[in-house]
């Protein structure tokens, strides 16, 4: 069995052995690389990784280079989860047959995918992987948009967000539909662990990733990934945006154990108004016109209601 990696402070965490190189083509200020390093650095065990087609994939494995110092595979947009599930099945088979080259290792199987590759096109594949009980972790790098292809809406795009396929215009406030609640859907598969994480709350992140690696069975992680390009903020402000997302409770941090036991893992001391979160991003700029201000009010009400729901779920212990 593997030992849980003990991480004392951020300096030690950020300088631990890198299996994801800084040499990649992601935008300056992209949260993807931060999240990936946090996930990988949570363990010293060997890794089998996949990336679905998207920003992370096209920016880290451009032949003849690779940013990955770990086993890594990309097949397509929708099937990164199943790629890792296939590798996990092979690991089981070879272990049973006594053919593993390093039988003493305890590898972790992780698939990374964007919200488009998870909420939309890869939804069925992820659901299949969760239902079948593979010992894998699926991590969504959730920037709420198809960033790799230039900013089209996905089913993770929140209401009021302006994207290239749900643009704000003279008669439109942008995206008309609410973000899909993917954590709840995945938890409903009865998987041992699902959680929402954020790169700014790295201790919470590491705890959850380590919890995910320790359980036997599929794990679903939704990581908020502020996108400097499509959310339209200055690259230096990535962590500020992540702070606003968690502290406004737009992205509450919680976990769901065995599909039902919900624990809130971060309670901001000072809750930031949703308006501040929205105001920091160009994609919501139009909501501050007089005729759309009611939407900001509705945003706040929705976030409050969700927070109340999460708290009541936690209290209920069911």
């Amino acid at each position: 069995m593997s030992e849980m990696k003990n991480i004392k402070n951020l300096k030690e965490f950020s300088t631990s052995a890198d299996r994801f190189e800084g040499a990649n083509l992601l935008c300056p200020g992209c949260a993807h690389s931060i999240i990936v390093r946090e996930v990988l650095n949570a363990t010293n065990d060997d890794l089998v990784l996949s990336a679905s087609t998207g920003c992370l994939e096209v920016c880290t494995a451009v032949y003849p280079y690779t940013s990955w110092d770990a086993s890594w595979i990309h097949i397509g947009f929708e099937n990164g989860s199943t790629a890792v599930a296939g590798a996990e099945a092979m690991h089981k088979a070879l272990a049973r047959k006594g053919r593993l080259k390093q039988p003493d290792r305890n590898p972790k199987f992780v698939s990374f995918a964007g919200d488009g590759a998870s909420y939309d096109i890869g939804f069925q594949w992820i659901s299949g992987c969760m239902e079948r009980g593979h010992n894998i972790m699926h991590v969504v790098l959730d920037n709420e948009v198809y960033a790799n292809t230039g900013g089209q809406r996905s089913s993770s795009t929140p209401i009021g967000g302006s994207t290239t396929t749900s643009p704000a215009g003279r008669v439109s406030y942008g995206e008309k539909k609410h973000k899909k609640d993917m954590v709840a859907i995945m938890a409903a598969h009865g998987i041992p662990y699902s959680a929402q994480v954020a790169p700014n709350k790295w201790k919470d992140m590491v705890k959850k990733i380590q919890h995910g690696f320790a359980v036997d069975g599929p794990v679903f992680i939704n990581a908020v990934s502020p996108c400097t390009t499509e959310w339209k903020f200055d690259p230096k402000d990535t962590m500020h945006l992540a702070d606003l997302s968690t502290d406004s409770l737009v992205f509450p941090l919680y976990e769901i154990i065995d599909g039902h036991e919900l624990n809130i893992t971060y309670r901001p001391k000072n809750v930031v108004p949703v308006e501040e979160y929205l105001a920091a991003q160009g994609r919501f700029k139009h909501l501050f016109k007089d005729e759309y201000k009611y939407l900001i009010k509705e945003w706040q009400e929705r976030v409050d209601k969700n927070w109340e729901y999460l708290n009541r779920r936690e209290e209920a212990r069911v």
Binding site: D46, V48, S50, E57, V58, A61, V62, Y63, P64, T66, W68, D69, A70, S71, W72, I73, H74, I75, G76, E78, N79, T82, A83, V84, A85, G86, A87, A89, M90, H91, K92, A93, L94, R96, K97, R99, L100, K101, Q102, R105, P107, Q124, W125, S127, G128, E131, R132
Partner: protein, 407 residues
């Protein structure tokens, strides 16, 4: 718990599906990721039963679609082990994206394709539409005409695909229902003989070797994509057919059954011949014999390996014949048939004066009768006698309504 071996009789009565499932069992596959679809479902069911009865030691992953089946196979193959699955028709069509990915990533997966028509209209019966859909996908494609061949070609497919000089996935085709659900005598190999022939899987660039991390499935744009595709094509064009021929020879030594890239029947002195695939080859052979009794020197050329296409071997097989009919069991939908085009390509720039005509038949499981073939051979003989093609270049046979012909 170690798995059990199975005692087989020297000759078993198996349909094509069961023959393929038995071959998969004997190859000791490490991971099968699969999804059921008519008419290949019994392969997946058969394999599941072997697992339930402890005749299989590997992992069996029943996924939620054919696309996921091949995706799981790709992940498993990249992890480093023997991988196979089975599908048909719509499932094959759903898999197409991943077929290109499997071959481009040079992963030796074996796919049993029980050939079936493609919708619309929906149809569960046999034709070669799915086989044709896969022909540019970079896979090796073997074609079985009967259950015995569906059994044998699985061993050959693993042996060729997994060779480190080849590292390409391979399909074994058989006709839906006509082969897959028709029980015939199948001469078996013992479990030890069969496994001894395919040998242990030898991993290469395996993701589970943690001392040598590897990146699979990279991005290449205009700077490298062409070179990758060109190398894959080069290996298909130069390495695969010699490897298949060598494997056919090795298999003949083991089993006494000799396969060829192009299966020639009564071709030594043939004046007229048909070129076809699947169960139709056996029907055509029988009719060719009957035509000879009527004084028409008829022969049959069966395609055993559709990809890589045995261009030179077909040209050689057809060089002395006077009239050729190609039989395509897939609607060309606005062109000459695939076999018509391929055979024309083989013969162009050669010294042959052979007359070439194309026939489309058997779509959606419509029978190809002996009468159809008798008439066809007679048309070919009429072409020879007239010194020109006396019919349209493309004729549909066995379809209701007024005679349908083009070109």
């Amino acid at each position: 718990m170690a798995f059990d071996k199975m005692e087989l009789r020297e000759i078993e009565v198996w349909d094509g599906n069961h023959a393929a499932a038995q071959a998969m069992r004997q190859c000791q596959i490490d991971v099968v990721a699969a999804y059921p679809i008519t008419p290949s479902t019994p392969i997946v069911e058969g394999y599941a039963k072997f697992l339930a009865d402890n005749y299989v030691e590997g992992e069996f992953v029943m996924v939620e679609s054919e696309h996921a089946a091949m995706s799981g196979c790709i992940g498993a193959a990249a992890a480093g082990g023997r991988v196979a699955t089975a599908t048909s028709s719509q499932g094959f069509a759903l898999m197409v994206e991943t077929l290109y990915q499997a071959s481009g990533m040079r992963l030796p997966i074996v796919l049993n394709v029980v050939n079936r028509a493609l919708a619309a209209p929906l149809n569960v019966n046999g034709d070669h539409s799915d086989m044709y859909l896969g022909r540019d996908s970079g896979w090796i494609q073997f074609d079985a005409y009967c259950p015995q061949e569906a059994y044998d070609l699985n061993f050959i497919a693993f042996k060729v695909a997994e060779d480190h000089d080849i590292r390409l996935p391979a399909m074994v085709h058989q006709d839906g229902f006509m082969t897959s659900h028709t029980a015939q005598g199948v001469k078996t190999l013992s479990d030890d003989e069969a496994y001894g022939f395919v040998g242990d899987f030898k991993p290469m660039n395996d993701m589970l070797d943690f001392e040598h991390p590897v990146t699979h499935g990279v991005q290449t744009e205009e700077d490298w994509h062409f070179e990758h595709k060109a190398r894959q094509h080069n290996d298909l064009m130069t390495k695969v057919l010699p490897k298949i021929e060598k494997t056919f020879e090795d298999f003949a030594k083991l089993s006494g059954r000799k396969y060829n890239l192009v299966e020639r029947y009564d071709m030594d002195d043939a004046d007229v011949c048909v070129v076809c695939m699947g169960t139709s080859v056996e029907t055509a052979r029988e009719v060719a014999g009957e035509m000879r009794a009527q004084g028409i020197k008829a022969g049959v050329v069966g395609i055993r390996v559709l990809r890589p296409f045995p261009f030179m071997q077909i040209a050689a097989a057809l060089k002395d014949v006077k009239a050729i009919a190609t039989l395509d069991r897939s609607s060309p939908n606005g062109a000459a048939g695939m076999l018509f085009n391929e055979i024309a390509g083989c013969l162009y720039n050669t010294d042959t004066k052979a007359l070439l005509s194309g026939y489309v038949y058997g779509l959606g499981g419509r029978d190809l009768t002996k009468k159809h073939l008798v008439d066809l051979y007679k048309e070919l003989q009429a072409n020879v006698d007239a010194g020109k093609v006396t019919t349209p270049l493309q004729q549909f046979i066995g379809v209701r309504g007024p005679k349908l012909s083009f070109l």
